[in-house]
């Protein structure tokens, strides 16, 4: 991997390709999971996979892995908020 000084980090092609393959694999998993009989947990599974996927995209394609503390914190706050919002809906979805 190339690493340079400060502002602009360049991610190598090999790494990008690996991430891409991981994303494809996770997409396949999402499709598979719909075939299983999991009830309400199906949503949980699908969401976990979606989180992993967006985590990869954010870390590598959007460079968050190489950004400064402030930006990471801001993103973290937004994501935690989203997680709480989605989490609370499970009191409905899981017990309906």
């Amino acid at each position: 991997m190339t690493s340079d000084t400060g502002a602009h980090h360049i991610v190598g092609y090999a790494k990008l390709a690996q991430v891409w393959l991981a994303l494809l694999a996770l997409t396949a998993l999402t499709v598979l999971i719909t075939r299983l009989e999991l009830g309400g947990y199906k949503v949980l599974g699908a969401l976990t996979i979606a989180c992993l996927k967006s985590g990869l995209v954010i870390a590598f394609f959007m460079h968050m892995k190489y950004e400064g503390r402030l930006l990471r914190w801001l993103l973290f706050v937004a994501l935690v908020t989203l997680a709480i919002f989605i989490g609370l809906t499970f009191f409905d979805v899981l017990y309906r």
Partner: protein, 538 residues
């Protein structure tokens, strides 16, 4: 404190340029504030006109002046205009922009051009919403909540209307970002967090809600458009979708949006009450903290709109409980205001009368909110006029009356002229009486079982509906007196100079009207916002 003799021209005639372009392309926060004020307040007046028509239709049973379809369109447009074009952008855009940078001793907001862009987005969104009324299948008839499945099936122009709301949402997000950055980075020397005026604290809490919650509304509205235009089936049970999920998404934003409306209003009240009681605010820290607490906990209670929508019983329990928790920080504020009044030297000027009636009307609204927040009683009054009465008490009696307080308190500062006091008090009295006659009656009607969103009703509700309609006329009579008096005063009234009410926040230390960069020289803050010892008024 001595009155500053201005050596710099005021922001009204600094550029030497006049005409529309000097305003709609200005990046001065005060000009943008006035742009926002006139556009949002203009929409308020449109909304009032529509509300009046609704009340006239309900004056007597049966068809009075319009049929069901027109009525459905009118209450939808009334709601959309009042919520998305008046009260959500109104406070931050007008008084946030006008006053906040001066109150923290800054020359402008952190991103002045972004600020102008926000106003433009707001106007573009508004134009799109207005266009949606006259194109496609005509004005939307879904109610301002755009609930599926009806919103995905109705032939009216819902797609364009929600797109307009989407655009207005971005304006709100950008204003929020701008204010958060401004409050963090541009405070004058000595303006510590503990010396921020409570209006600024409330704007700060609001800004976080705008930034974190509005994107969820945006995505929800995109999904409604996708449902209509592409038939995605996300909310269609026939295709594995879930209509209740729409309500979750909508209220995840729209309940916190209630705090976008009420928090800045509470900030205004927290600034006005100490000035007119000549006493430092009681419990500064608790009021500041409760703003943050309301913003945080208020974001977790959206499910209380869905008790009768087929949500799980567990969720009903959880959301009902959380709703009762938010009542605590709200009550903290009310008690602190009342404690500030205690043994104060109260002067009943117009801003103070609006602020005092805010406390009463907001409390009625808040307490009736608890009736709706308890699942058992909500089942009885859900979707009746009780709800309509409740939220008008909170957003009109609360946020609206605080908006009027702010108009009387701050606009003279920016115009250098003032309204006459007596007519302002007459106007307030008329509005206060009319308001209660109309909305209290509507709450009683709701208790008796009159549903909302219908153009007709059973004959036994006739008398009370007539009373409510007469209330709306008293209210509007007061509104007209207020408008004429206020604007005639601002343009042709007595000069308003110095610090007649003895406010201790920074806006009262600079020239009236303020110069372009707000202060002759950068202020250094040496005391808190409610320390009245230096204001020269006993």
């Amino acid at each position: 404190m001595t009155t500053v003799q201005p050596t710099q021209p005021s922001f009204w005639n600094d550029t030497g340029k006049t005409g529309l372009a000097a305003w709609i392309f200005s990046t001065d926060h005060k000009r943008i504030g006035l742009l926002y004020f006139y556009s949002t307040f203009g929409f308020f007046l449109v909304g009032v006109l529509l509300g009046l028509l609704l009340r006239i239709e309900l004056m007597a049973p049966g068809r009075t002046i319009m049929g069901p379809q027109t009525y459905n369109a009118l209450f939808t447009v009334h709601g959309v205009v009042m919520i998305f074009l008046f009260i959500i952008p109104g406070f931050q855009g007008s008084f946030g922009n006008l006053v906040m940078p001066i109150q923290i001793g800054a020359r402008d907001v952190a991103f002045p051009r972004l600020n102008l862009f926000s106003w433009w987005l707001y106007i573009i969104g508004a134009v799109i919403i207005i266009t949606s009324l006259f194109t496609g299948g005509g004005p939307p008839d879904t109610g301002w909540t755009f609930y599926v499945p009806f919103s995905s099936r109705t032939g009216t122009n819902v797609s364009l209307a929600v797109f307009g709301v989407f655009v207005v949402g971005f304006s709100s997000i950008l204003t929020g970002l701008n204010f958060i950055t401004t409050i963090h980075r541009l405070r004058a020397e000595g303006m510590t967090w503990g010396r921020l005026p409570l209006f600024v604290w409330s704007l700060y809490a609001t800004a976080w809600v705008q930034v974190l919650a509005t994107p969820i509304l945006a995505i929800t509205l995109v999904l409604v458009m996708a449902e209509r235009l592409l038939g995605t089936g996300l909310f269609d049970p026939g295709r594995g979708g879930d209509p209740v999920m729409y309500q979750h998404l909508f209220w995840i934003y729209s309940h916190p949006a209630v705090y976008i409306m009420i928090l800045p209003a509470m900030g205004v009240i927290s600034d006005v009450i100490p000035v007119f009681s000549r006493k430092p605010i009681f419990g500064y820290k608790m009021i500041a903290f409760s703003s943050i607490a309301i913003a945080a906990f208020g974001s977790l209670v959206w499910g209380h709109h869905m008790f009768t929508s087929g949500m799980s019983d567990t969720a009903i329990l959880v959301f009902s409980f959380l709703t009762f928790i938010v009542a605590i920080p709200s009550a903290i504020k009310v008690f602190n205001w009342v404690s500030t009044l205690y043994k104060g030297s109260i002067s009943l000027d117009a801003p103070m009368l609006f602020a005092l009636s805010f406390i009463l009307l907001f409390s009625i609204g808040g307490l009736s909110g608890l009736i709706l927040g308890a699942a058992a009683t909500d089942v009885h009054v859900h979707d009746t006029h009780f709800v309509v009465g409740h939220f008008h008490y909170v957003i009109f009696g609360g946020a609206g009356f605080a908006f009027f307080a702010a108009m009387h308190y701050w606009l003279p500062k920016f115009y250098g002229r003032r309204y006459a006091e007596k007519p302002a008090i007459v106007a307030w009295a008329l509005m206060f009486v009319g308001f209660n006659v109309m909305y209290f009656t509507m709450q009683v009607l709701g208790m008796k079982g009159m549903p909302r969103r219908y153009y007709d009703y059973l004959p036994e509700f006739a008398t009370l509906n007539l009373v409510a309609t007469i209330g709306s006329w008293i209210l509007v009579a007061g509104l007209i007196v207020m408008l004429v008096n206020l604007f005639r005063g601002l343009f042709r009234g007595e000069p308003f100079v110095g610090n007649p009410w003895g406010g201790a926040t920074l806006e009262w230390t600079t020239a009236t009207p303020p110069p372009t960069e707000n202060f002759e020289e950068e202020p250094v803050v040496t005391h808190g916002p409610y320390d009245f010892r230096g204001t020269g008024i006993p």
